[in-house]
Amino acid sequence: MRTAAICVIIVVAMLSLFTACSRKQAGPSAAKNVEKKLVVAVMPKLKGIDYFNAVERGAKEAAQELGNVELTYDGPIEGKVDLQIPFIESWTLQKVDVIAVACNDPDAIAPALKRAREKGVRVITYDADANAEKSGREFFVNQATFEDIGRALVDEMAAQAGEDAKVAIVSSSPTAPNQNAWIAVMKRYMAERYPKMQIVTIQYPEEDQGRAFSMTQDILKTYPDVKGIFGISSVAFPGAADAVRQAGKSGKIAVVGLSTPKSMREFVKDGTVKTVILWNPVDLGYLTVYVAKAVLDGTLQRGATEFEAGRLGKVKVQGDQVLLGAPMKFTAENIDQYDF
């Protein structure tokens, strides 16, 4: 029993010490909401990549501006949907006011969101949607539609590599919903608009830049007549650009993709990449929190066609989607203006 006592004391002491140290998120105690602050819980697909770090910054900015919003930003460190579900359940229990989540899978997360709705928690999604009817989520803050993004990518490639170019796609995970949706749009659009453009291969380096790099290297060697590479994740794009640059093919092979200006800046500056397509993830996070608050106080309801979001001004609302806007293009001219 002496052993048990020691065990207990050590473990409890450890836990308390750690919790005291990590109390960054807490702010006013969760259970005792004296001032009536609206608790908004925002969850990324995963923590630990530039893109969502930028989303967090925007969310914090909006919470600060709005004043009466208490922001909780948390999520798993791996992009797996079953790691997201415990957060939803925990927040439901804590009766937060709104949950805003970027879903790793639209169906898997739906039951947990539905339960949250049943307990009176409002639910919106951003970046990656959940199944609308199964989850009962009210709005989806979309950065740009899948159509817009897919087309922008293909148009850009056609402009840089030619309409009959042989291209390769470097994606992320073979089961990633956003990437797969973009690829579907790209294939369809290519068949319509640029029938001579050909996809020679699609590779999946997961979220590992090293693999994106070596896969691109191998693509360049396996398909020597490839004219363009699509890097359609914030990890694949810099990896692919790096490989093209180190192979000495900057400017000869077009590299088009989606990533943050921060990751791509040096490639844009040296000409390996001409345009970076994205939207502003800081703005996305910002908008999401504004939408969250508006859903709570009734400012935003179904049927609206516009929504006023702080410094973003008026954004379009299409049915149950709030649109951040058209995809942004970062080029050598404007890339320095952005620090995300």
Binding site: Q209, S214, K221, T222, S263, R265
Partner: protein
């Protein structure tokens, strides 16, 4: 040896280096198979394969020592991430080259020292220590970096991964040096012999006067140090250091070592086999893309080939009548 005549030389070599030789043969077969696709056997591609394999080769050398000593380390990938981040921070702070190499290696050694202490003195089984450490390090690095990646690395840092030494790519030179170092350590020093002894039969080793604890602790520390070096070589090739780098790396390293014929029960195996194993994995990865194998089937082919290598080795050992 009870026979009057000593066995022919080639039989002795086969007995001693049979594993490594079979891996080598396997590698050559694969090269031949993939080589039938145009471009694979070009110097440029082979060079890339060697460079890409370098970090794995370095890590596999350390892992060889760990496995020969009868232990295991599944926290290697997380340790890689930590050391890579340290390397990035050091580089960005404008440190000179020696420091850029030294600090990550010291970090790795420190992690190894903790692992080693838990295993050697507290007698916690290695798989548990490293399983726990994996979570601690992975969570820790995200906590520390707040998930931020490290970009804008100075050219002096990138020179390590992308430079050359008398025409040979730096990573390859470093990897070769490490393999030689560990091979010599294991084969020709008392310490090396102690590692084999501890791995083969710790009780007997202790009775022979070997400080088992100290050997294990040093093995983990050396392994950690090599992980740090591997992290520098790995990270200096890219323009950005991810805080979630190295996921799955430990399993690759263990696969390389196992495919290379190192006995998981400890006490046998050489670092040459592990290096060949690491090369083999790299060749498979690249070769499958060259062969235009469906991207969906590529991972299973890789897994199947590892299984094949392991099974043939096991059968071969059985036939030789362990």
């Amino acid at each position: 040896m009870t026979s009057k005549q000593s066995p022919p030389l080639r039989l002795t070599i086969w007995r001693q280096y049979g594993r490594e030789m079979s891996v080598g043969v396997f590698l050559l077969l694969l090269l031949g198979y993939f080589g039938s696709t145009p471009g694979f056997l070009r110097a440029e591609n082979l060079r890339d394969i060697l460079i890409n394999a370098a970090p794995l080769v370095i890590a596999a050398c350390g892992m060889t020592m760990v496995i020969v000593a009868g232990m295991i380390d599944i926290s290697a990938g997380s340790a890689l991430a930590v050391c890579a981040v340290v390397a990035g921070i050091t580089a960005k702070a404008g440190a000179p080259l020696p420091l850029m190499l030294l600090l990550p290696m010291l970090t790795g050694a420190a992690i190894g020292a903790v692992n080693g202490w838990l295993v050697a003195w507290l007698r916690v089984p290695a798989i548990i220590v490293t399983l726990g450490m994996m979570s601690v390090l992975r969570g820790g690095i995200i906590w520390w970096t707040r998930g931020e990646w490290i970009g804008n690395l100075p050219p002096s840092f990138s020179a390590i991964g992308r430079g050359e030494v008398v025409g040979v790519p730096t990573p390859v030179v470093i990897a070769l040096g490490v393999v030689l170092f560990v091979a010599l350590l294991l084969a020709r020093t008392p310490f090396g012999r102690h590692i084999y002894a501890v791995g083969g039969n710790p009780v007997a080793a202790a009775r022979m006067g070997i400080s088992v604890r100290r050997v294990l602790w040093l093995v983990f520390m050396l392994h950690g140090m090599l992980l740090g070096l591997s992290a520098v070589v790995y990270a200096s090739r890219f323009s950005v250091i991810q805080s979630n780098a190295g996921i799955g790396f430990e399993l690759l390293a263990i696969s390389a070592v196992v495919v290379g014929g190192v006995n998981i029960f400890g006490g046998q195996g050489t670092v040459w086999g592990s290096a060949l194993g690491a090369l083999l994995l790299q060749v498979i990865g690249t070769g499958l893309i060259f062969r235009r194998v469906s991207e969906y089937w590529a991972p299973s082919v890789q897994g199947a080939l590892v299984l094949l290598a392991v099974v043939t080795d096991a059968l071969r050992t059985r036939r030789a009548g362990q």
